[in-house]
């Protein structure tokens, strides 16, 4: 080991963009040492049960509960009220758009963050601080894009789930099915995705308003948002 005198606090923090970076478990840094040590002990205890019956759901539940505890705070962005627009017609008559902070893009249309072509997921993870300083780049993704042409890269979460099935946070296929069934009148010609780990203030004050203008020009009537 690099640091033989590593403390428990350093160990738990190392999962958060440190030497053991693991985006599924970066939340460990938000926990007290006591809560984090309980997390490890209980996960091992539950793994012992899995050895007997093969049922992993208890492990999934344990991870989920601990993740929720780690993110339980209200965060930095608090508002008292928000603007609100009612639907002007039934959904069967409206054009629906999709925007997700999942980090998807179409194969052959790489947003090339910082000019880097084919940036790997690992590199995006390593450059998270750079991503957090700049405005997000919006990837335009035609609504009829086949799943196999979708790629994903995001330094803020584990993308393996969205690689296996983009619909976990960028539900193009599900939307197309629902539109075919007539539950949605029309889908916008394009959906949108960007890396949500980005400068939140620039997104709020500059990028966002520009996107709204574009959605209006595209005559999007109603919008589904999936923050990751």
């Amino acid at each position: 080991m690099e640091n033989p005198k590593e403390t428990f606090e350093e160990f738990k923090n190392s999962f958060n963009y440190g030497s053991r970076s693991d985006l599924n478990f970066k939340f460990l840094k938000n926990l007290s040492d006591e809560d984090a040590s309980r997390f490890f002990q209980e996960i091992l205890w539950k793994m012992g049960d899995v050895l007997n019956d093969g049922d992993f759901s208890r492990v999934v539940e344990h991870i989920y509960q601990t993740q929720a505890k780690a993110y339980a705070g209200a965060g930095k962005f608090m508002y008292e009220d928000s603007p609100f627009t009612q639907l002007r017609a039934p959904l069967s008559l409206l054009r629906l758009g999709l925007i997700s902070s999942s980090g998807h893009f179409v194969d052959g249309n790489d947003p090339k963050p910082f000019g880097v072509e084919n940036m790997s997921q690992k590199e995006a993870e390593a450059r998270i601080d750079d991503f957090l300083k700049v405005e997000p780049q919006l990837s335009v993704i035609p609504m009829d894009t086949p799943e196999e042409r979708l790629l994903v890269r995001h330094g803020g979460y584990d993308v393996r789930g969205s690689m296996a099935d983009p619909n976990v946070n960028f539900p193009l296929s599900r939307l197309r099915e629902l539109q075919k069934e007539g539950r949605i009148g029309e889908l916008a010609s394009d959906a949108y995705s960007f890396v949500g780990a980005t400068s939140q203030l620039r997104l709020l004050n500059h990028t966002g308003p520009e996107w709204v203008k574009m959605f209006q020009e595209k005559q999007i009537d109603v919008l589904l948002l999936v923050p990751v």
Partner: protein
């Protein structure tokens, strides 16, 4: 978006419920799924579909901003 005349609905995970609530978003659907897999497990088309349907229902029914719907259930891998 809403100020620009476009009604919106946000789908987020329960781990971020407090943060999403603090943002006082117009309409929010909360799913019991882990971060990064907001609509359900890879391949769980049925759950993914139910989540979108819940979002569409909320678009139809919400009458004031800050409306939140919590979806029941657990993250699961079986039955698909």
């Amino acid at each position: 978006m809403e100020a620009g005349g476009i009604p919106t609905v946000v789908i987020g995970v329960k781990a971020f419920r407090n943060r999403l609530t603090a943002m006082h978003l117009p309409r929010t659907v909360i799913t019991p799924h882990p971060m990064g897999r907001t609509l359900g497990a890879p391949g769980d088309h049925e759950t993914q579909r139910k989540v979108i349907m819940a979002a569409l229902e909320l678009l139809k029914n919400a009458s004031s901003p800050g409306t939140i719907v919590d979806l029941p259930g657990r993250y699961q891998f079986e039955n698909f």
